[in-house]
């Protein structure tokens, strides 16, 4: 029986309309607004690349050393010549150092945007640690031990509890005057611990610590648990008979067999990492102190709904989108071929 393709339309239409109205059109509008100045109250004004240059632009102070740029360029160019590997590595390092020396002298037009990007990258450093923690935890819970169902529930609980409540709880834990963490420091060392959320140095580690608590035992652990349970026991048994020790079994059987899960978690983690950090910054620190916990998503929110700089917020969203695209592509290029699909 031939079924008309149009019959699918009424079923697809509600979702399609919703997608068009609330996702696709806003994305297009945001793209256009990145090149406009708009405060919601008056009509948007075309500013071309003004918003992007405001975010990405910088001023060269007089003390900026042009020689460093020259050294960076020459060493990068020479590195492409047919040279021994260590020479090439040395030249690239020299180029990077010269570039670093040059760029640390420049004055960005909008340092807070660069800082928010830096914070976002810094917080994403927690991803590999969190993945490793999830894998270790999943391996521990994969053993047939008494009560492991109970522990699976316990470890999964943090990701089931509502966000804001958890943030308020952690805010209290990190309180430098009466928080339990400070009391613990005082008890153990006799000295005050770091002033976690008040310190530009400690606020990001504090947020990462809180993130581990929620993410190590969360969905990632469940995904790893499912992947581990899919590993054929015969494979492990065969390796054991061949004399493979625990580390070799982990290195040559478990890791390759869960690599597709790791790759999925990595891709999603990177995307989430770029977009994340808003809720914790909003509830716990308001992006402070001195912007040390402002992530790019919070920066976008602050510009859009705090200061009604819709154009600048859209331009930042556009840059964030480009970064997510680039890093996802890099992930596919660098890790995609190493993934083992069972």
């Amino acid at each position: 029986m031939k079924v008309s393709r149009w019959i699918a339309l009424p079923f697809l239409l509600p979702n399609l309309l919703g997608f068009l109205a609330f996702t696709f059109l806003p994305i297009l509008a945001s793209l256009a607004l990145a090149f406009c100045s708009w405060d919601l109250f008056s009509p948007p004004q075309w500013v071309g690349f003004g918003n992007l240059s405001d975010l990405l632009g910088f001023t060269l102070p007089e003390k900026a050393n042009g020689w460093l740029l020259l050294v960076a360029g020459i060493s990068a160019a020479v590195a492409f010549a047919p040279l021994p590997r260590w020479w090439r590595l040395g030249l690239i390092s020299l180029s990077v150092m010269a570039l670093w020396g040059f760029f640390r002298e420049i004055e960005p037009h909008y340092p807070r945007f660069w800082q928010s990007l830096g914070n976002t990258f810094f917080l994403m450093l927690g991803l590999p640690v969190s993945m490793l923690g999830s894998l270790v935890l999943a391996m521990a819970l994969n053993r047939t031990l008494y009560g492991n169902r109970f522990f699976r529930l316990i470890y999964f609980l943090p990701s089931m509890v509502g966000g804001v409540g958890i943030y308020l709880l952690w805010k209290w834990i990190f309180n430098p005057d009466y928080g339990p963490l400070q009391q613990l420091f005082l008890f153990l060392s006799g000295h005050d611990g770091p002033r976690w959320l008040e310190s530009v140095l400690w606020v990001k580690p504090a947020l990462m610590l809180m993130g581990f608590w929620g993410s190590v035992g969360g969905t990632n652990m469940i995904l790893y648990l499912a992947a581990l349970q899919n590993i054929s026991p015969e494979l492990v048994e065969a390796a054991r008979i061949d004399g493979a020790g625990p580390w070799q079994r982990f290195r040559h059987i478990v890791l390759p067999m869960v690599s597709s899960t790791s790759f999925f978690i990595l891709i999603m983690g990177v995307i989430h990492g770029f977009q994340g950090g808003f809720d914790a910054a909003y509830v716990m620190t308001r992006g402070g102190p001195a912007g040390a916990s402002t992530t790019t998503s919070y920066f976008i929110y602050e510009n859009a709904f705090g200061w009604y700089e819709m154009g600048r917020a859209s331009a930042a969203s556009l840059l964030l989108f480009a970064l997510v695209m680039i890093f996802t592509w890099l992930n596919w290029r660098m890790a995609g071929e190493k993934v083992h699909y069972a």
Partner: protein, 419 residues
């Protein structure tokens, strides 16, 4: 047949969608409905009582209130107005400039001008002036919020420190804060000397943003002021808030761990209820040049430019700045009607002298200038101030950066200025 059924289904679905999008039906076909946006809490409670009498006087006008409690009140208000949601009147305090500068408010001068005697005659003229913007009267205040300093006399005596007098100077306040902090011990912890996040620029005759829209701290005095604040923050003489603002300040004071604290008119009821020790209100200390300035803000109502019922909205606004409403909120704000000042002081009971401190400050109030970019400027300032406090930037560099950012923001604001 199947196709016609499909078309019929689609048509029905479309009708339902369009019906849902139809403008909200008016609740009273022959009257008007006003929508009033307010923050929650005590203001919303007082409003409900006040609106009952308004409804009795004007049965043809229905009033619907939308309470939007929380720290994002202004953001929500601006978003509602930008989204063309019906808001006829709204409560405005420090965020007045954000609305005024964006052309969101109706000029009340023609309505006030028609009345004889004018409503403006009874209100404190200095405070009414804060609601004038480029020649237009964009709101009317019912209360003034003023900053003073509260002193825990019991704690100071326990610590063996001299009690400050009303004519004190800012140097004396700092010395007292340092002395209080120095007495801290594990048995009697004094985590902070003064319950202030910063010594406000007004105490030193300075302003973050001067009239005319210039960064007011780019001067040797401003540099000295920021340096002093940084030192006091590092010494923990000033309160380093854990991000909970008032909660940190008040809880430490009530726990008798802070002897001196910045206090505002809205803090007085909780002081009366919770402080089970001897406390006293002092005016802000005199600055280095001998003059005194108190930070101040105000609370009032404005009518939105988008209202379809300006006459009815004016009636409601008149009701809300009337003496009944001012009396209802008198416990947390100084009434703008000067004839109510005696009643304001009397409500303090045994602390009447402390309430009188607030009214005595009316001639020396220093409100923040009102500009559209107020939140962005404030955020920018806190950013650079914190970088200086945390040692990430030198004091002159932090001030220079803040000045450059202020100029950039204000310049952009002038470019986008509404006609």
């Amino acid at each position: 047949m199947r196709r016609s059924r499909l078309l019929l289904f689609l048509f029905g679905a479309l009708t339902l969608v369009l019906a849902a999008c139809q403008k909200q039906a008016r609740t009273q076909a022959d009257g008007v409905e006003l929508v009033l946006l307010t923050p929650g809490g005590r203001i919303a409670q007082a409003l409900e009582v006040s609106l009952e009498s308004f409804r009795r006087e004007h049965p043809q006008i229905a009033v619907r209130t939308i309470a939007s409690p929380g720290r994002d009140y202004y953001t929500k208000g601006l978003t509602m107005l930008a989204g063309r949601a019906q808001v006829d009147l709204l409560w405005l305090g420090m965020g007045f400039g954000m609305f005024a500068d964006r052309g969101a408010l109706l000029d009340l001068a023609p309505y006030a001008g028609k009345e004889r005697p004018s409503v403006l005659e009874s209100l404190t003229p200095e405070v009414v002036a804060w609601y004038r913007y480029r020649g237009a009267l964009l709101g009317l205040p019912y209360g003034v919020d003023i900053q003073a300093v509260v002193c825990n006399d019991s704690l100071l005596e326990e610590l063996g420190l001299a009690l400050p007098q009303a004519d004190w100077s800012v140097e004396e306040m700092i010395a007292l804060g340092r002395a209080a902090k120095a007495t801290s011990s594990p048995e009697r912890p004094i985590p902070y000397g003064i319950g202030m996040e910063e010594l406000r620029p007004a105490l030193f005759g300075l302003a973050l943003l001067e009239e005319g829209g210039r960064f007011g701290l780019a001067s040797p005095e401003g540099e000295a002021w920021l340096k002093l604040n940084s030192e006091l923050a590092r010494e923990r003489v000033l309160l380093r808030s854990a991000g909970q603002g008032d909660l940190d300040r008040l809880s430490e004071f009530f726990a008798q761990r802070i002897a001196l604290m910045e206090v505002f008119t809205w803090d007085l009821p909780i002081l009366q209820q919770r402080a089970d020790f001897r406390w006293r209100l002092l005016p802000p200390p005199r600055g280095p040049r001998g003059d005194r300035g108190a930070w101040a803000s105000s609370s009032g109502f404005s009518i939105t430019k988008a209202t379809r019922h300006p006459e009815a909205a004016w009636l409601l606004l008149r009701h809300l700045i009337g003496s009944d409403f001012q009396k209802a909120l008198m416990e947390q704000t100084v009434p703008t009607d000067r004839s109510l000042h005696d009643a304001y002081i009397a409500q303090g009971g045994e602390h009447a002298r402390d309430y009188a401190v607030m009214t005595s400050l009316l001639p020396v109030l220093r409100p923040d200038p009102r500009v559209a970019q107020q939140d962005e400027l404030l955020s920018e300032w806190i950013y650079w101030r914190e970088r200086a406090h945390q040692g990430q930037r030198s004091i002159p560099d932090a001030l220079a950066q803040a000045q450059a950012r202020f100029e950039r923001i204000l310049q952009r604001g002038r470019r986008e200025e509404k006609p």
